[in-house]
């Protein structure tokens, strides 16, 4: 078992002939992901790396290869349409790596996906990885290790750092999901916590949040009532000034809302562990895993 995907999941890559798409398609295949199709309009009929069939539309890719998930590597101005296309094609999971999608586009995309029951991860995210089985997106395969810790995070390299801390300590991961740093995203913390709760392979969960919005607080409250597995949180941006966008479009403190201090306080008030330093996450989780 694992969360959202596994080694069998049939994946189509939208933008497979682009610079990023081709690079990461190769990385995914190399990692063992079941990449069954690529999509680039006008390149239908070709084969990517002499192996993966390329189609003009996602619909054709799904019809011909039975793709169940798609991952998007197209430029920001085309990315929303790529999500619409994936949603119309019949895949159940769309992972949008592209960053820079206008919020206005995402507000239209979200109800479209909901009506069709399609899960979106991202945009502006590194995707997800099930160590030893498959990865969809750009998470580096060499830093993970098979194990029982579920990780969900709003950031990219900070997640790698945390995974690395765990792996270095011999603590493996069940699934790692980067949900993205934008203000409007598909799958959120709660969706992932729920999936980890249901996943038989996950024994503990790490949640990596940051400033901006109130998703971490919502997740902490949800976890208090619904998560039976140990959870540790980390919030980046304790030193971030208000009103400035810290790289991620979603990482901005608005008024008094969305500070790291407030988020950490919520975790503490609810009795959930909060790490002060990234390395402390490793210490805490390693402690749990030894006990178990």
């Amino acid at each position: 078992m694992s969360v959202f995907i596994d080694g069998e999941t049939r994946v189509a890559v939208q933008g497979i002939t682009g610079r990023d798409g081709s690079f990461h398609a190769r990385q995914m295949i190399e990692y063992g992901t079941n990449v069954v199709a690529g999509v680039t309009p006008g390149k239908g009929g070709q084969r990517f790396d002499d192996a993966v069939p390329v189609f003009d539309t996602v619909e054709q890719a799904v019809e011909e290869t039975g793709a169940e998930a798609s991952v998007i590597f197209v430029p920001a101005r085309f990315a929303a349409d790529a999500v619409f296309e994936a949603a119309d094609s019949g895949v159940g999971l769309v992972v949008c790596i592209t960053e820079g999608l206008p919020v206005r586009d995402m507000m239209r995309v979200m109800p479209y996906l909901e009506e069709r029951g399609v899960r979106l991860i991202g945009p502006n995210c590194p995707g997800l990885i099930v160590p030893g089985q498959a990865k969809i997106g750009i998470l580096p395969g060499q830093i993970v290790r098979e194990g029982a810790v579920g990780i969900v995070s709003r950031s990219g390299t900070l997640t790698y750092e945390v995974i690395h801390q765990l792996t270095t300590r011999g603590v493996g991961q069940s699934t790692c999901v980067g949900i993205g740093g934008d203000p409007i995203i598909g799958t959120d913390f709660v969706d992932c916590l729920r999936a980890f709760e249901e996943d038989g392979d996950t024994e503990a969960v790490v949640l990596i949040g940051e400033i901006g919005g109130t998703d971490e607080q919502v997740a902490a409250r949800w976890a208090t009532e619904n998560l039976s597995k140990p959870l540790v949180g980390f919030i980046a941006g304790q030193t971030a000034p208000p009103g400035r966008r810290m790289g991620h479009a979603g990482a901005i403190i608005s008024g008094s809302e969305g500070t790291a201090a407030e988020k950490m306080r919520t975790f503490e008030d609810l009795g959930i562990a909060v790490a002060r330093r990234p390395s402390e996450i490793g210490e805490i989780v390693a402690g749990w895993m030894e006990e178990a």
Binding site: A76, V103, M110, S153, G156, L158, T239, M246, R276
Partner: protein
């Protein structure tokens, strides 16, 4: 992206909203000339990307040209929340019978725009939200439908009783919606929306924030960026494709990834230091970006120590190492540099750095501690 009040008013005007005339002055003389032109009382308002202008003395009423010049003299050059005022807006003073607040914000939780109106206008709306939340009426907008007429009308009925004023206000709300939507804004507000003694509805203030990710399709709005209002280092960083925010500390940080950059700043603070900046060089291993980053950090006179924190995933450590070598060759920096490098091609990266006399570290905590300690 923030735009100034006068720019937001231009957008409002182009959507047919009732906005009083007004022009920009950058000198007391120009302000006086505008006051002369408008006749009667004028308001002189600092144009600066900071809230709380009024409290800071950045908005002054002037009875005529002389007072307008005086007001402009006082405001131009003033610092508001650390930002220098370079421009004032001169606009005729409105007669006010009542003041309301109307605004649209992008609400993250519901993933839609939300209208907010309050009959308590002209004051800090966040204060109203805290102390008297019932005074604010909210209307979530389905982005597939936009503001429906009955919703505009319902909001207007919350503010006004007179049907004539309600109709005008509904129309203003519709136009505000289109201004928000067409501009790709994440915030548009009028505070206060005024009813004059004659029963006319007028937007005498205007505030808009634009989604940065929209700017590619909004060239007119992108051109409104006030480069004078940015720190020059931030402008250079933006032009180099770096995400950089200047802070007040002395440990310069150069990191790949926004989350890791924030965590690095936090760790600098944790170990007793003060971060000098947020800087994300992104996923690219382009040495030019490393050069630009190092040069921007190096020019901050407060910086006493520079910390690289690179986690190679897509970014390859050897590429970043080459960038650092090249950058330090090109720039003459007399500052201690601490480098933490791990992940993809870590060994090659470390080898390159050591070849050039740098010591590379693997552990983030140790690297941060050393960088903090290097501040003399």
């Amino acid at each position: 992206m923030n735009i100034h009040e006068y720019q937001a008013k231009e957008i409002f005007r182009s959507h047919g909203m009732p906005v009083p005339p007004g022009e920009i002055a950058t000198s007391p003389e120009a302000a006086a000339a505008l006051a002369e032109e408008y006749g009667g009382r004028v308001v002189v308002k600092a144009q600066v990307h900071a809230g709380g202008r009024g409290k800071a003395g950045g908005v002054k009423l002037a009875a005529g040209p002389e007072e307008a010049a005086e007001a402009a003299r006082a405001i131009l050059g003033m610092q508001i929340k650390g930002l220098t005022v370079h421009k004032v807006l001169v606009t005729p003073a409105a007669e006010i019978a009542s003041e309301a607040y109307v605004g649209i914000v992008m609400d993250r939780a519901s993933q839609r725009p939300v209208f907010m109106v309050s009959a308590e206008g002209g004051i800090d709306i966040e204060e109203v939200a805290r102390e008297n939340p019932e005074a604010i009426h909210r209307q979530p907008i389905d982005p597939r439908y936009g503001l429906l007429n009955h919703q505009a009308s319902r909001l207007a009925f919350h503010l006004y009783d007179d049907i004539g004023v309600v109709r005008q206000a509904s129309d203003v709300l519709q136009r505000l919606w289109h201004a928000y939507e067409d501009s790709g804004a994440t915030l548009a507000e009028v505070n206060p929306l005024v009813v004059t003694p004659d029963g006319d509805v007028v937007a005498i203030d205007a505030k808009m924030n634009i989604d940065d990710n929209e700017l590619f399709r909004q060239p007119d709005i992108a051109a409104m960026r006030d480069e004078e209002a940015e720190a020059s280092s931030e402008r250079r960083a933006r032009e180099a494709g770096l995400s950089y925010i200047k802070l007040d500390g002395n440990v310069g940080c150069c990191v790949n990834g926004a989350g890791l950059a924030m965590a690095t700043m936090d760790l600098v603070k944790y170990y007793g230091g003060e971060p000098a900046n947020f800087l994300d060089i992104g996923g690219s291993s382009n040495p030019d970006k490393v050069v630009a980053a190092l040069s921007i950090i190096g020019e901050d006179p407060h910086v006493r120590s520079i910390l690289f924190n690179i986690f190679g995933g897509i970014t390859r450590c050897d590429d970043v190492a080459n960038g650092i070598v090249e950058a330090t060759d090109r720039l003459e920096l007399d500052l201690p540099i601490t480098i933490r490098l791990t992940g993809t091609n870590e060994e090659e990266g470390v080898a390159i750095l050591e070849e050039h006399g740098f010591q590379a570290m693997i552990d983030m905590d140790e690297a941060v501690q050393r960088a903090v300690g290097a501040v003399s």
